[in-house]
């Protein structure tokens, strides 16, 4: 089976972000999506630390540590961008002004529950940042992750065993082998890569799946 690379997944997510969308890319892998946004679409990236209209990384000489993304990496500001304080920034999320956020995850349930902030392991120092705010606030929550853990367990699960970030919030799940739409009705497969059959995918994940693949 051929699995998508992170870059391929990021490129696939990028295709689904429409012209004019206000988008928040979570730290880590989701940040890669920015590299694949179609050049003919104007898409506005928000950063939780008070930036709209975030542009790509600057040339090294122009690094400005007052202009960083949520992952603390230097970025730039596009023409039309704006700065604002944390109250307004999280009002953008919580108030459903952000069209799409893209997050990583430890686990996602078939009904869209998200676990991405804490393994719950004894002794782990918990840290949540803005994950819960994005999960409940964005109009659509896209998750990008490998479907399986390194030890071969499905990260798409009937019920999350890790502590939740939000309930029923993930609308679409992009993995290295398939794309799912999630909701109260469960998981619908809308795209598959690498030649798996639906039965094989169900066997891998151990969750019931419905096909909405193009005929």
């Amino acid at each position: 089976m051929q699995r998508m690379t992170r870059e391929q997944m990021a490129a696939r997510v990028a295709q689904d972000i429409p012209e004019g969308a206000y988008v928040n890319l979570g730290i880590g892998v989701p940040t890669l999506v920015a590299n694949f946004l179609p050049a003919d679409r104007e898409i506005v990236l928000q950063s939780e630390n008070g930036i709209l209209g975030m542009g790509p990384a600057p040339a090294e000489a122009e690094t400005d540590w007052d202009l960083i993304n949520a992952g603390k990496q230097p970025v730039t500001l596009l023409a039309g961008g704006a700065f604002f304080h944390h109250g307004d920034s999280f009002a953008m999320m919580r108030g459903s002004h952000i069209d799409i956020c893209v997050l990583g995850a430890f686990q996602v349930s078939v009904t869209g529950d998200l676990a991405n902030w804490h393994t719950g392991a004894p002794g782990a120092i918990p840290a949540v940042g803005g994950a819960m705010d994005l999960a409940v606030g964005a109009k659509q929550v896209f998750v990008m992750m490998d479907l399986m853990t390194k030890t071969g367990e499905s990260k798409l699960v009937p019920i999350c065993s890790y502590p939740l970030t939000g309930i029923g919030c993930v609308t679409r799940l992009y993995t290295d082998v398939a794309i799912f739409e999630l909701g109260p009705q469960g998981a619908d497969v809308i795209e598959m890569h690498g030649g798996l059959s639906l039965a094989e995918l169900e066997a891998m994940t151990g969750v019931p799946l419905r096909s909405r693949l193009p005929a």
Binding site: V44, L52, G80, A82, F84, F90, G95, I98
Partner: protein, 228 residues
């Protein structure tokens, strides 16, 4: 390309529907989007809920909507003005519902809607007629009233300048309700005196980032009306 510019107030208001809730900015004459409200009068939508600091005065704007019996409900802090006779007539006739809200509660309920909060406990109005029947609670030795968000289908606001992304700056005390109403409406329509090139507005001085604005129309304000 993102382009929120509209050619005319008429086009910017094309989809205002009967029964819509509409926020209208302004305090005194400052910040009232007169030309957008004039266009709303022409547009014809009726059965409206108007959310504004006042309930209209004189013969134009909100008062004209009142006169034409197109306002079902007003949510405001100060309906009684020098020339608010059209509101008063409808109110006394029982033809318009009035929800009177202390001005700061009006502001914070609009902010709560924009920020996605479910409700807030505010101290304002506790023990008064305006909190009758509302849930109250003592928190840390002080009494508060539970108030719910006020959101709207449309907000009509007035900026000094804007750009095609919808970024806005305001002018002096004409800012008033504009920035918070912009955040609380599904469709915010801003009239501005000037539309500038993207990047022309200082990103440090933009008051309303474009994410909160759907439509921007350049309209030349008439010589300022004398405030009631």
């Amino acid at each position: 390309m993102i382009d929120k510019r509209y050619e005319s107030a008429r086009e910017a208001l094309h989809d205002v529907f009967d029964g819509a809730s509409i926020m209208i900015s302004g305090f005194g004459d400052a910040g009232v989007p007169h030309e957008l409200v004039d266009a709303l009068v022409d547009q014809g939508a009726t059965d409206l809920t108007v959310i504004s600091n006042n309930a209209g005065g004189g013969e134009i704007g909100i008062a004209a909507l009142m006169k034409m019996k197109r306002v079902r409900k007003v949510i405001c802090s100060f309906p009684r003005m020098a020339a608010s006779h059209h509101f008063e007539e409808r109110y006394r006739a029982g033809e318009v519902e009035l929800e009177l809200v202390p001005q700061g509660n009006l502001a914070c309920r609009i902010q709560a809607a924009g920020a996605g909060l479910g409700a807030v406990f505010t101290p304002t109005g506790y023990g008064t007629l305006l909190s009758e029947g509302k849930e109250t609670r003592e928190i840390d030795g002080r009494m508060y009233v539970l108030e719910y968000p006020i959101k709207a289908d449309f907000a009509l606001i007035k900026g000094l300048a804007g750009d095609r992304w919808g970024n806005l700056i305001y002018r002096k005390a004409a800012r008033n309700f504009g920035p918070i109403m912009a955040m609380a409406a599904a469709t915010t329509i801003a009239q501005v005196s000037d539309i500038v090139e993207l990047g022309h507005l200082d990103p440090e001085a933009i008051v309303t980032p474009g994410i909160f604005v759907k439509r921007v129309v350049r309209l030349t304000p008439a010589a300022s009306a004398i405030s009631a």
